[in-house]
Symmetry: C3
Subunit: 403 residues, 3 copies
């Protein structure tokens, strides 16, 4: 009934007059309000309660985390999306928090009569991981994790990706949507594509595109419980967008020899392999992801950027509790990450050990409230700040409206 | 009938099936076009006629006031707003003139069955003053006044505010809407809240939030004439966003002693108390506001920023004249302000004495035209420009379209 | 039926209840979805195939043309437009590719009962040329030409323009719309107006406005073939927005003597006269434009900016081929330009000789694909890069979705 669910799930109408004859519709819906819809959501936050360490900041996740930031808007999203024909879908999303930026702008072209195979071109989420795919509109904790999201800050890139979702899997997605099980949305049971690799709203900076692949299958058992398993990986070369002046890097040249060069403008290997396990909350859920890879990372002893190993993941135990017409999602999550953040200054080196305990409360489909206590322990260093261990706790609050 | 009126007035449907049972609606309107509407307005201006002093600029009010600025767009506003449930309202507004910026993004949560008490969270107008509350879409003169608007440039901040409007007052608002009496919109008969205090789209810069309170009551007499009286005030501490390098400030330290420090990064007291009187135009209207307070202000003799008194106000005599289906709003307004503008360079010191004579013409509900002759006399000084008296006259024109 | 056509063509309903009595409608359409519609289009590109010269860049046309730019979004357009009354029309368009910017924000006020004469005020396309008027949504080749578009980068300015289109011409426009003949849209058979002259989203920088005039008449013959002829011109004075430090210019002063001054801040003559010939594709089409004028241009021998002659044009042979429900538009285009680009660094001097061969494929009304092979030969020089001849070929691809 309500249409706040993930975008691709919109395609699950299964109307017989469309689904079996996908490619024969030739004219657009007459009314513009049938071609597209306008929707969005707003997240307002207050990160200032019971803060024990004002120097602890987590800019990738929330720029208003840290000393004295007051009330903030984390996301102000406006979307325009719709099925123009039964084989052409468009999606556009902008964020208006702070200064306006484009998030998504893509077109989907379907190749078969069952809406199961499609090509997506434009700026969209790169199919790597589960939490990256899941909209912040539906995620239970306030932020994604360093472990997974450090692969793709803002989750998106300029790309061309082929997706395939078998019809039987779409029916499981539909079941999860109907039951508000916090699925990630339909980003393909199988996905294979190429993307620039330098992040959102950015031209590529080297001659190669990143390549990404993902397979994710939901198994629904006789008792209706659902388990989803995914593997996903990407590989490419990355140019650091932000380095301290004169910073050097150790690279391996074409002859296989180590060489010292300036970090700025260099190509660094950037590759990850990850896996996801999700047991959907009927009523107890468990979600875990892990990924392992290599990428540029600031090295303190040598004051250089090197290509280093990185790895990390998270595990979350949660539940879905219905009380009258309210829904509650209590959760506890542990996050671990050891590696660089390629998009931060000098490919800043991180070591993260965070625990979060919280609850999302949905009194209705339009409004959500999240309270979350974070116990963070983070080391993050770059050439300008080579000693930086920050531990601290705080309570974080969010109110969200969906429209 | 037309729906260009102020946002909160949209809530005045008084539909019996909603109004008495506000909290029992559980599902969203099925069509997205019933959940939200898209609307907006555009203001195009020409400030170049009969200009006697090209050096006279009023950047807070109109960046295209001064020498040779040509045709300009003052506001290009796009809004998405709507009742998602009978107790959840969303409002989002962006401005696209110059470079796009977010103006409003908030959610309203209603607590009672009569839509009379609500919590607003997000970025929205701070309930201080009458002209600050009234949308530029409906204001008769082209700009707000230095006297009131210097409290809150852009009128908005990141905030959480409780509002209460009794049902009998909402009926008077409804009467004013129906008769196009240029009300300010429903920002609560009573309001109490907290906000960051550093302005629109900006994080807080110190450990305290500003606090604001307002009470505003419209009295409707037996002859239908309406008089509205308001008092409003706020207090907090403000950090100057823009100071000349090395500029000093005189502050009072914790021991009550005067001390000379650098102005940048200092907390300055920032507090005002104001009052409004409005006699609505049936057909003659009168509107006056005054406020008094203290805040940072550049001091010429010492070349320092000091916490100084400020005060100012305006008085406007106007009328509403119906001629066939056209409406005309002739007006004359006098503005006085003596104080600092905390958000300008060095908390620039102002002394303003302006007279404006003009008329707004509404041939229909979609289009408006304003012509306004301004006789300005302004002194505004900072450490880089400590002698600066500017007087001058000009004719200003505006065309506005409402959609 | 479909409503993706040019904006002004929307006005061609010819509903008897409106068209004869234009000025008597007094109330707005009750539903907001009848007042305005939301629409737009997205263009995704890949310029990286078979590139022979990575140093060849064409920033005015496509910032992602050149070495290693990867997948890009050329345009992400969102429009809000509609007839508010039968004599008031509003149009607003923003682009979200890269960082969001406003393109159009204007109001149209009609003066007669036949929607034939109107005043447009705000930011909109300046009526100079054919390809400048035609939306990129409908143009066959990927980009406009240096020859015409160098007059008005982004095609738009802040302006007030009177338009007139006789009813018999509107019927020809309507015929061309129905048959997808790639018309430019209704920018007036006759147009006369004033604009700032410094480009989109920019204040004027001198005391005079540019003046523009255009006449464009489509002749429809007995066999339904249509030929359109246009002349158009503008004149004004332009201030260079971007000059190397200390760069000098040779100008003619008030006494008619040559004088050497700094280029920054100077007024340069900026005037052009142009003509267009279009034979619409039933099924063979031919389109040619030429313009001649003067403007600021970097001069290599003297290392100065001078007011110099400029001229250039293009000729395009194309066809419209229907195959089942698909439409194909093969084309070949030759571009020539010799002159300055006033809005680029130092009024960069250009000499352009490009040939393009390609095809646009429309499988349906929502989606388009363009492949285009470019053979470019370009010299472009400024004081920082006074020797710069670049020739090269490449294949360019575009996918476009219309919503």
């Amino acid at each position: 009934q309500d249409s706040f669910e993930e975008i691709k799930i919109d395609s699950l109408g299964f109307k017989p007059e469309q689904d079996g004859e996908g490619l024969i519709q030739k004219s657009l819906p007459k009314s513009w309000t049938d071609r597209i819809k306008v929707s969005g959501y707003i997240q307002a936050r207050y990160n200032g309660l019971f803060e024990t360490n004002p120097d602890l900041e987590v800019p990738q996740m929330d720029k208003n985390w840290g000393a004295d930031k007051g009330i903030s808007l984390r996301r102000v999203r406006l979307k325009v999306s719709g099925w123009l024909l039964d084989n052409v879908y468009v999606y556009m999303q902008a964020d208006f928090a702070g200064s306006p930026t484009l998030r998504d702008a893509y077109m989907d072209l379907y190749f078969d009569h069952h809406k199961s195979t499609w090509l997506r071109v434009g700026q969209s989420k790169v199919p790597f991981g589960f939490e990256n795919m899941q909209s912040s509109q539906f995620r239970i904790p306030l932020d994604r994790t360093d472990a997974i999201n450090s692969a793709l800050p803002n989750e998106r890139d300029l790309m061309a990706v082929m997706y395939h979702t078998p019809q039987k899997v779409r029916k499981i997605y539909e079941y999860m949507k109907r039951n508000n099980l916090k699925h990630s949305g339909n980003y393909g049971t199988f996905a294979l594509g190429a993307y620039n690799g330098q992040g959102i709203n950015t031209s590529d900076l080297n001659e190669n595109l990143h390549v990404v692949a993902r397979a994710s299958w939901p198994f629904q058992f006789a008792n209706d419980q659902i388990m989803e398993l995914s593997i996903h990986g990407y590989t490419g070369q990355y140019v650091l967008p932000n380095t301290s002046e004169g910073l050097e890097a150790e690279i391996t040249n074409g002859n296989g020899e180590k060489e010292i060069v300036y970090a700025a403008g260099q190509n660094f290997d950037d590759a990850r392999l990850g896996a996801t396990f999700v047991w959907y909350p009927q009523p107890i859920g468990f979600q875990a992801e892990y990924n392992y890879g290599k990428g540029p990372e600031y090295d303190v002893p040598t004051n250089m950027v090197k290509t280093k190993e990185l790895h990390g993941g998270y595990a979350m135990l949660y539940a879905k509790i219905d009380y009258t017409h309210h829904q509650f999602f209590p959760f506890v999550r542990y996050i671990y990450y050891d590696g660089g953040k390629k998009f931060e200054l000098d490919a800043r080196s991180y070591n993260v050990n965070d625990v979060e305990i919280g609850v999302e409360w949905q009194p209705n489909r339009a409004f959500e409230f999240v309270a979350m206590y974070t116990i963070a322990n983070r080391t993050y260093v770059d050439s300008q700040n080579p000693y930086n261990d920050q531990a601290g706790n705080l309570l974080r609050l969010q109110m969200q409206v969906n429209f």
